[in-house]
Symmetry: C2
Subunit: 291 residues, 2 copies
DNA sequence: GCATATGTCTGACCTAAGTCAGATAAATCG
DNA sequence: CGATTTATCTGACTTAGGTCAGACATATGC
């Protein structure tokens, strides 16, 4: 190793602090203190609920209140009582506020784009950034249910199919496989779960119901930068919880011998090998588990 | 790609801001504002000269002066006039100041260690952090002359030998090669240059003088995370500048056909192939350039 | 319906951080 | 030598950011 771990991390901290500081400085260019800009951005990103905004930004209630009043005086924000609980308030951007928000987004995007542009090995850099972000944000990975046709789900599935294509000796064509209907992977028949790290989808799993007490696990995938963190296990546990919730008692899945980590995971978490239960051309391993 | 580049970078920014913020918070635990802690750390890291400290921390002269006075009142720092210029002042840590400095270092090291500890794929993470730090700190890569036996030089050379061992079909044993004497790569005979990114050595090149007008380029190396940035070219240019400065008119070098990027660089920057000029077992390509 | 809990706001504070215009003293140039 | 430049310090000021106690209105449990 060139340098010990600690000094490498400290060098990283310095480099990154300088870069993030540059972004803050460019935000100041719009003539508003950073705090107000952050509030405006929070609202723009859908955190209109004052309480949610406070948690997200980690601000004192008095301080946030004052910042909101400032933005209201600027004509960028309006706050209204929450429709179902008049104690709570919801902030929303006005037309002018939306324009300001877009301007801040543009600054932020420009900074990101310039970073990629001035570094020749962009994809490698982005991959490294993903890995670091995942490592740092490990405690904040959330598993959520979503529609398997939603953008977050589709981005995972696309990566999943691409990886199968690379790893299976036969390649992989989703049209030849038994692609489940979206409705089978949604309540009340089944479920589709994605793992989100700070909003970015980094893994998924589908629970494909058949209407009865037996369901199938499909599409288990974890993005490369998040492997080795026990995320697949967490996703499987969440899928089993969903199955219990749907009164499903038996889970089945098929897999391929090229996917060694997956087979290892199944064997270690109570799955038992069973006879082939479909005529899909790709799988050559079949498992079952009672929940 | 899972997500577009911009949102990947923005996720990275958020993750890293939270981590750096955690370090700042732990620094506050020592009951001193962050500014004062940074000054103390700057002095501890050898930036005692008040002017240098101001540049390093980017502080206003009045503000730094006040922070220094505060640390003096705490008994952590003493400032003395510069020995050769009584206008300038030099700050130094007292015994108590050194203790505080060590405590801050320990906090910083603990944070770094805990990061590595809670992520199972530590070496991969560190490599990713190196790459990101190099990309972000690209404009701040400095080339400096140093003793080839100094720690910075040795860490580069060790990595260089290891890489030769991996890449040459024959392996590489430095004892069998014509290892230059350190004195040949130091003024007044030659020079040894290292590239430093925020203090971390990431590349080197040696200029081995023979006392006359001919000198040899040796040990050109760039660490993997910094490749593709044109650093080798910059190092070579710096070595040529040093050669001119030493009244050297002809440069020679030997290389191996396995080192394709290096050969390409030489051909593109005015080097011409010549006859073998030594009996070193490893090289099979020989170049010359007039400066 | 009343007591209590919850969510937000207001006023009165405080501190860290930074700016700027001189003051001061030492070095340097002609 | 005197004039100018350089390095640092001091005092007066500003701003951003944050804390805290209580006010106020609305919801919730009994």
């Amino acid at each position: 190793m060139l340098h010990d771990a600690v000094s490498r991390i400290r060098r990283f901290n310095r480099a990154v602090t300088a870069e993030v500081g540059a972004l803050d400085t460019s935000f100041l260019g719009r003539g508003r203190p950073l705090g107000a800009a952050r509030v405006l951005n929070g609202i723009g990103h859908g955190r209109g609920d004052v309480g949610a905004l406070r948690d997200y930004l980690g601000l004192d209630s008095g301080l946030l209140s004052r910042l909101l009043r400032g933005l209201e005086e600027e004509g960028l924000v309006v706050t209204l009582p929450h429709p179902s609980d008049a104690r709570r308030r919801v902030a929303a951007l006005t037309e002018a506020g939306r324009k300001e928000f877009v301007a801040y987004e543009a600054l932020s995007n420009a900074q990101a784009a310039s970073l990629v542009e001035r570094f020749p090995r962009a994809e490698e850099l982005l991959r490294a950034m993903d890995l670091v972000a995942t490592a740092l944000g490990r405690e904040r990975i959330a598993i959520e249910e979503c529609d398997p046709r939603a953008a977050t789900a589709v981005s995972c599935l696309t990566a999943y199919y691409a990886e199968l294509g690379r790893r299976l000796a036969t390649g992989f064509d989703v049209a030849l496989s038994r692609d489940p209907e979206a409705a089978d992977m949604m309540r009340p028949r089944g479920a589709f779960l994605v793992a989100l790290s700070d909003g970015m989808p980094i893994g998924c799993v589908g629970l494909k119901g058949k209407g009865g007490e037996v369901a199938e696990i499909k599409r288990l995938w974890v993005c490369p930068s998040a492997r080795g963190l026990g995320l697949a296990r967490r996703l499987m546990r969440a899928a089993e919880d969903a199955a219990r919730d749907l009164a499903i008692t038996t889970l089945q899945l098929d897999s391929n011998s090229a996917l060694t980590e997956a087979l290892q995971l199944y064997r270690r978490t109570g799955w038992v090998e069973i006879e082939r239960f479909n005529d899909d051309p790709y799988p050559d391993f079949f498992f079952e588990k009672r929940v």
